[in-house]
Symmetry: C2
């Protein structure tokens, strides 16, 4: 493997986050890399707390797909459930998500939020 600035490479290489951290980062961004989940998240940003069927209706996805999406988001502490009888009400459980979306929107040029 070729190297031009060996010292810099050593410094940079040592400063890189460990594999676990990189993996977790990739997983978090992976959660946001799917249009279906993104719609779910933006819907919850708008609606606050919603049940599964309403989320599905608002997003235009099937209830099963939304349930799968919510399962992933729940496992990564992005959303929270509140169960009331046979209904399940979901809400965002992470203040960073909105900021992540705003930053990404700023990057792609759209200055305004989904709000």
């Amino acid at each position: 493997m070729r190297v031009v600035d060996a010292e810099k490479v050593a410094v940079v290489s040592a400063a890189l986050p460990d594999g676990d951290t990189i993996g977790e980062l990739a997983q978090v961004f992976g959660l946001l890399s799917d249009p279906g989940r993104l719609r779910v998240i933006t819907a919850l940003l708008e609606g606050g707390e919603m049940c599964v069927c309403d989320i599905a209706a608002a997003c235009g996805n099937s209830e099963s797909a939304v349930s799968h999406a919510l399962r992933l988001l729940r496992a990564n502490r992005v959303v929270r459930v509140r169960r009331a009888g046979r209904m399940a009400y979901y809400r965002l459980d992470d203040s960073h998500v909105r900021m992540l979306l705003d930053l990404a929107l700023a990057h792609i040029g759209h200055g305004e939020d989904a709000e």
Copy 2:
């Protein structure tokens, strides 16, 4: 499709970003959802400007894989090239990336950055 709160669904549905915006958001996050690209980005965060072979050496990836990664990042205005002879020096071209990484690190619990 079942709906509980039809009015809320209508409001939320109308407030969702359009399909193009959702797609672009997903694409941006998708760029950050790969450990290989993440290593490239964190290396550039540390090293500032580096040539392809040094990036590859620092990340522990093949030069071809890094070149493919840089191609994607370049197409999405995340990195910038400066060509000098047969060398190609890459640097980050987006101030949002560092903030996105910091937010994601905050989400997964690690308070500190890759810095």
